[in-house]
Assembly symmetry: D2
């Protein structure tokens, strides 16, 4: 964990609509995939284990996205995962989506830690919080550099 | 066209996640379905014909959603389609999602009219504009009544 | 329950691919929707309640489909649900998909009753079995008439 | 191209249902992804270019799948792509899906080469045919070895 995490999402037939572009709900599936891989491969906490073993889920409570330019079959969308804010039981992520250096979309999601068993929010566990704090620092440093 | 259009979306197995709730990207598919049926059944302009016959598409340029309470398998989400703003080539829709009278989500999307052949924005055609203006009036009246 | 159940699936933007036709995995989502509505509206047993209240699921153990002709945005696919075979813990459904009287696809799925809690097969409950037997008779009569 | 192509599909939240298992239509999306990557990374012919540049599509005319054991969030499904048969305008693929060496599913699909412009079948182009023939030999050798 020393650079911002970038999730690479190949644009597939599955994602594209009659205009040949990604159908917008598919982007939210890509953001979800980005979160899962960021947990597992960057934060070092297996996403599936959080849910299946620890019974902690991370549903999206709010999301918003600006689609600046369409993405086409065969392109690879690179989603940079930026942690913008860290609360007691929630955190805010930004996704900057580029193809070949060109900005295609910017999105922002608020994820809330919940107990899967009853669906209510819970505080973010100590281990995850420590990783998120480190990633938050990393994002702030990256932000100052820009 | 004399009341606000409500699209009924049954929550299916297809939509639900391991917590038994609708997986959030699926809501955006429901919003898309609401737009299609609102065009066809409320505005009186067949959505598919717009694309296939007239070559005019309506991609979503921006969307945002607050997920207030989860939706469960077997429930029917009622999406009220509210036209908030009408521009030259775009319009802003709000979707209020209720189940049994309880607010579950509020979303807002900006749709842009484009020529399918090159993907660039175009002005909204006269017939569609006339229908949208009528619906806009209806939404404003409904808003004042509340 | 006196005629074969027909599920009407409007072909939406969500379903279509860059060729303007339904992307084939989406048909399987339509079959699932057909099963859910057939349970609830034809057999008279609420599908969601089977899962959420009784803890009985009906995963698909086998499926096959012949895609004879493509389906296009704006069409309505009519899926006739035919019960072909009824076993102890499983049953076989056929889906005949027509648009305007023209056969577009034929599919066949084997569904297995399982206990959701451990995922293992269980015998079909008495009430469901009684309904399935009636529907099976109906399908056989319809078959002889053809 | 000297070993059978294996496509690795991570099981994500996007794929799973209220039982915590992959919802069966999602497997067909994985098969489609396997085909795309097999074209691009194994046959050496970019899948997207076939469609966007050459106007040749490969819809699935028939598919069938035996779901032997469910797949769970966090697992990685390894899909081995086996070419079973090569015709004038179509070919038959088998997908053997394993997780950690355990067989979870076997599927078979017939793909047809079509001209995107009118949707009718066409003969498989010379370059693709040559690659498919080589892959077919490879599959037959692998079969004899088993």
């Amino acid at each position: 964990m020393d650079t911002l995490y970038i999730h690479r999402a190949p644009v597939r037939f599955t994602h594209t609509d009659p205009a040949g572009y990604v159908f917008f709900p598919r982007f939210f599936e890509m953001f979800q995939a980005a979160v899962e891989d960021w947990f597992t491969h960057c934060l070092g906490l297996n996403y599936a284990e959080q849910i299946l073993t620890h019974g902690v889920g991370f549903p999206t409570a709010h999301t918003e996205c600006d689609f600046k330019r369409p993405c086409r079959l065969g392109e690879v969308l690179e989603l940079t995962v930026v942690l913008e804010k860290l609360g007691r039981s929630s955190f805010t992520l930004r996704f900057d989506g580029h193809v070949g250096g060109e900005l295609r979309l910017t999105a922002r999601s608020v994820l809330v830690a919940i107990e899967m068993v009853h669906g209510r929010p819970r505080s973010i566990g100590a281990q995850l919080r420590e990783r998120l704090e480190r990633y938050l620092s990393l994002c702030r440093e990256a932000g100052t550099r820009d």
